[in-house]
């Protein structure tokens, strides 16, 4: 099995417009730990860029730079083609860069619609009361438009499944005007079906014109939905690949560590093929 050579950054769709987000050789050092070194990636509107890598590869560090949580030490970070230095998550949000972290920032005992608008509640009337009717209606509509099947927006978020919770968080980010959506391992804690549900919403957000950065360590989750794949290993980039330039097997092999693991990659490939159906085909009966 051969590992393809990374392509610079082909964008078949809109090569004229500057990418939504782009990093050029960014790095990040924590004290004596070099968490990230020389990583380049692009994210276009209406596309999904997957960031893959094993635990500790630097995936979270990269997206925290994108989300404004960490300032980068080296290289350049460009938003809409111009270099930026974000002062914090709020600044990223103001530029339309929304991040859904693993822990989701939702309150389990509160209802779906209350969570949906938490911190940005619509108000009405002279007393500026919480426009509950509108909040419920909009939450229901937004979820439905995303194809999310929540029976009852009054039910507590804690009673939703992990996949549904991820989906609500994604719908919320979309509703509040995100242009770029960053998802940190949204499928890693989920079963096959639930992961399929979340992948479907990632595709839906992409179809609405958002750029999605999708972090995962599972190439089987990344491949069906991704347009571009950035593979990280121990803080460095193994390259960014357009979908046309890499097969699922090659991606899996690359992730597993390259030449030395050809054999293991083969084994893993078989195991994966035996036990996990592709996420694209998963999730009957969930809509």
């Amino acid at each position: 099995m051969t590992v393809p050579s990374p392509s610079p950054s082909p964008s078949p769709a809109d090569s004229s417009a500057p990418p939504l987000l782009e990093t050029r050789e960014v790095g990040k050092v924590f004290g004596s730990v070099i968490a990230l070194r020389g990583v380049s990636m692009v994210l276009h509107a209406g596309e999904v860029t997957c960031v893959l890598g094993d635990n500790g590869a630097g995936k979270s560090t990269l997206i925290k730079i994108l989300a404004g949580v960490h300032a980068h030490d080296g290289g350049e970070y460009l938003v809409d083609g111009s270099p930026v230095r974000l002062g914090g998550p709020r600044e990223a949000l103001d530029r339309g860069i929304a991040t859904v972290y693993q822990d989701l920032a939702m309150i389990p005992l509160m209802s779906v619609w209350r969570n949906f608008f938490l911190g940005s509640e619509p108000v009405t009337g002279p007393l500026r009361r919480f426009d509950v009717a509108r909040a419920k209606r909009v939450a229901r509509e937004e979820l439905r438009d995303m194809g999310i099947d929540i029976r009852d927006v009054d039910q507590p978020v804690g009673t939703l499944s992990g996949g549904e919770r991820q989906s609500v968080a994604i719908a919320r980010a979309v509703h509040f005007g995100a242009r770029a959506l960053i998802l940190d391992e949204p499928t890693s804690a989920l079963g096959v079906k639930q992961a399929g549900v979340v992948l479907r919403y990632i595709a839906r957000a992409r179809d609405r014109g958002l750029g999605v950065v999708f972090i995962t360590h599972n190439p089987h989750h990344a491949y069906p939905v991704g347009d571009r794949f950035l593979v990280l290993n121990r803080g460095t980039s193994l390259g960014q690949f357009a979908k046309a330039d890499i097969t699922r097997e090659e991606l899996t092999s690359l992730m597993a560590g390259g030449a030395e693991l050809d054999h293991l990659a083969h084994e893993l490939g078989r195991a994966a093929a035996d036990t996990t159906p592709g996420p694209a085909s998963a999730g009957p009966g969930t809509t």
Partner: protein, 344 residues
């Protein structure tokens, strides 16, 4: 992890679930049972006069329980709330009787130390991140000392009295501590204040942004902050709200008795918390209701007077309280566990 088929989820979200998820449910059942029990023991208890009689202790307790419930939903406790009712009363009566202030003015002046103490409680909790249980235990003890020390220094005794002779007493008394005759039965005005406070608190909780934030900071403060909820401001506001309620109740009690004991309100702080918990507030925050806390207070009122009407020794009241509290917390934890099992 497997995903549950859709129709099973539907069954899970049925009527029973909906009911169980209401925080007030346990207290409503409790209130009906307590009412039925004492009604069967005493005809006076179930008469209109009897009702007016047991609504009275429920009212002042209810005002405090509602405020404490808001604070507990926001994830904090206030042990200084009881003694603060004494402090505000003492300030008011002292200013009116020793310094010749008009009663209304003296009453308003009592609000100043109350708000300051509420603010201080909140600020300390928010800044130090210490448990509010400890912080307010500290202010509780300090206020207890201040109430006694200053009262003794000014009057040489452990009470200030004579409010009756002060300017504006009758008017203030009519508004806060008088009675209203409805259908030939005298009801204390405080009962209407209690209803108003309950309605206002319910509106704030259910229909304002602040209400959403209160649930959120009590449910998961980190997550609430992450989406931009001003958690520190909300918490300080909640402590100032309990302080304001303590001021209202302290004023009502002072006007009613025309004097205040230096140890007034001590020991009440736990009763407020117990009423809120019986009303469905979780000790861990993020869940509860103002109506529930009011019903918790109602149960207290009924038991307090019902035991007397039934001709029993009043000592049984505490036993009854303990039993109610245990039952209520047990019911709450069952509801909680049920909600958690329903996840996934």
């Amino acid at each position: 992890m497997t995903s549950v088929p859709a129709d099973e989820r539907l069954a899970g979200a049925g009527v029973l679930r909906r009911l169980l998820v209401r925080p007030e449910l346990g207290s409503v059942v409790g209130a009906v049972a307590v009412f039925a029990f004492f009604s069967s023991q005493s005809a006076v208890f179930r008469s209109a006069d009897g009702v007016a009689n047991w609504l009275d202790p429920a009212s002042t307790l209810g005002i405090m329980a509602v405020a404490i419930a808001l604070l507990m939903i926001g994830g904090e406790f206030d042990l200084s709330a009881g003694v603060l009712t004494g402090t505000t009363g003492l300030v008011m009566v002292t200013l009116a009787t020793r310094f010749g202030w008009n009663v209304w003015l003296a009453m308003l002046a009592g609000l100043v130390p109350a708000l300051a103490i509420g603010f201080l409680n909140g600020l300390l909790v928010v800044r130090t991140k210490l448990p509010s249980f400890i912080v307010t235990l500290g202010t509780f003890l300090m206020l207890q000392g201040l109430n006694l020390g200053i009262t003794k220094a000014i009057t040489g005794t452990v009470q200030v009295g004579g409010l009756r002779r002060a300017d504006g007493y009758e008017g203030a008394r009519a508004v806060l501590a008088g009675s209203v005759t409805v259908g030939g039965v005298d009801f204390r005005v405080a009962i209407f204040w209690w209803l108003a406070v309950t309605a206002l608190a319910t509106w704030v909780l259910m229909r304002t942004r602040a209400g959403n934030w209160i649930f959120a900071i009590g449910g998961d403060e980190q997550a609430a902050r992450a989406v931009g909820v001003p958690a520190a401001r909300v918490k300080i506001g909640l402590f100032m709200t309990t302080a304001t309620a303590a001021w209202l109740v302290g004023s009502i009690m002072a006007l009613r008795l025309s004097s205040v004991q230096a140890n007034a309100g001590i020991g009440q702080e736990f009763i407020y918390i117990i009423a809120a918990v019986i009303g469905g507030c979780l000790l861990t925050g993020g869940y509860g209701s103002a109506v529930g806390a009011s019903i918790g207070a109602l149960i207290f009122g009924m038991a307090d007077k019902g035991i007397v009407f039934a001709g029993w020794d009043a000592d049984w009241f505490k036993f009854f309280l303990g039993g109610m509290l245990l039952l209520a917390t047990l019911a709450n934890s069952l509801v909680r566990r049920y909600a958690e099992e329903a996840r996934r």
